[in-house]
Symmetry: C2
Subunit: 181 residues, 2 copies
């Protein structure tokens, strides 16, 4: 019978989180069984025990951050623009490792079919979070594209760097498609 112990699950999660941290520091190339095990503070065999291949490790860890971000974005329904700016700002700058890992996922998904579903989830969540704010679906799509580009720019340049600046950028993006609200 297949039983899942709580302790085992905790270690699995610890390993997934370690992958994210390794990803932030050294990029996808640095994600090795040994590096992840060391980061998680578990012996090497634990990493190979819970995740047979290095791919399992990547897929699992990146599915995890995707889930986290999807829930983060789906809870933005009735929020104000300032609240959204705070969420975006905190995600990019305070959870930078997750944010970077998230986009590394998108690129891995270009090559690995196992990640397609996760990447799709991300795109859908982004659009779903925007649709209630921008009723016109065609405009919503454009806004989603611009927000995607904005996140990339924040990750790379560090600007806009403050919550008010992020809010201003979001306002600029939305204003261009709010001619008929």
């Amino acid at each position: 019978m297949v039983t899942i112990t709580a302790k085992g699950e905790a270690r699995r999660i610890a390993l997934q989180d370690a992958v994210i941290r390794v990803l932030e520091n050294g990029g996808p190339g640095a994600v090795t069984h040994r590096a992840v095990a060391g980061e998680a503070g578990v012996p090497l065999a634990a990493a190979t025990y819970y995740f047979a291949s290095i791919d399992d490790l990547l897929v699992s860890a990146l599915l995890r951050v995707t889930e986290q971000q999807v829930t983060l974005f789906t809870h933005l329904d009735g929020r104000s623009l300032t609240d959204i700016a705070v969420v975006l700002h905190d995600w990019v700058y305070l959870s930078r490792a997750s944010a970077i890992a998230q986009y590394e996922l998108l690129f891995l998904a270009m090559r690995r079919d196992g990640l397609r579903a996760a990447a799709d989830l991300w795109y859908r969540a982004l659009e779903d979070a925007i649709v209630p704010i921008v009723p016109n679906p065609r405009h919503a799509r454009v806004v989603a594209l611009a927000v995607d580009g904005l996140i990339l720019r924040m990750l790379w340049r560090g600007e806009p760097g403050t919550v008010p600046e992020v809010e201003a950028a979001l306002r600029d993006i939305l204003q261009s498609s709010l001619g008929s609200p």
Copy 2:
């Protein structure tokens, strides 16, 4: 005295191009001296001779695609929207390796200072190509963000996949900021 032979330069370029192809197939992790040398059809020692470290190889190859793309985008000045759509479409789908490498560059630039300048070049070229089309600078910034997001989506999803569809997407993006042309 430092002399640069034409033959040597040709091999250097062949190696840079090989990096791009390896990057497309296997991602950054697959870029090894041996893989690149094999892809370029030169012995291993040639790769280590022209590029001391693997980092030199990456930086050099990615600077190359950046240059190519920058010249591609800066020549769009007076072109029609259809022409721009063709350029974008062909770049993403026909030079897919270059396009992917280009974005891998942006991610590597998050971690390596040696790539900051190249990544900056790319962002600047994208904005400079848009400014003549969208006079209002604030709107131009939003359009640049949306185009960036559009490229990402094309790379990942393969849609919009045809030139007319790309043109339609561009038109949607521009329309939102063309209230006063």
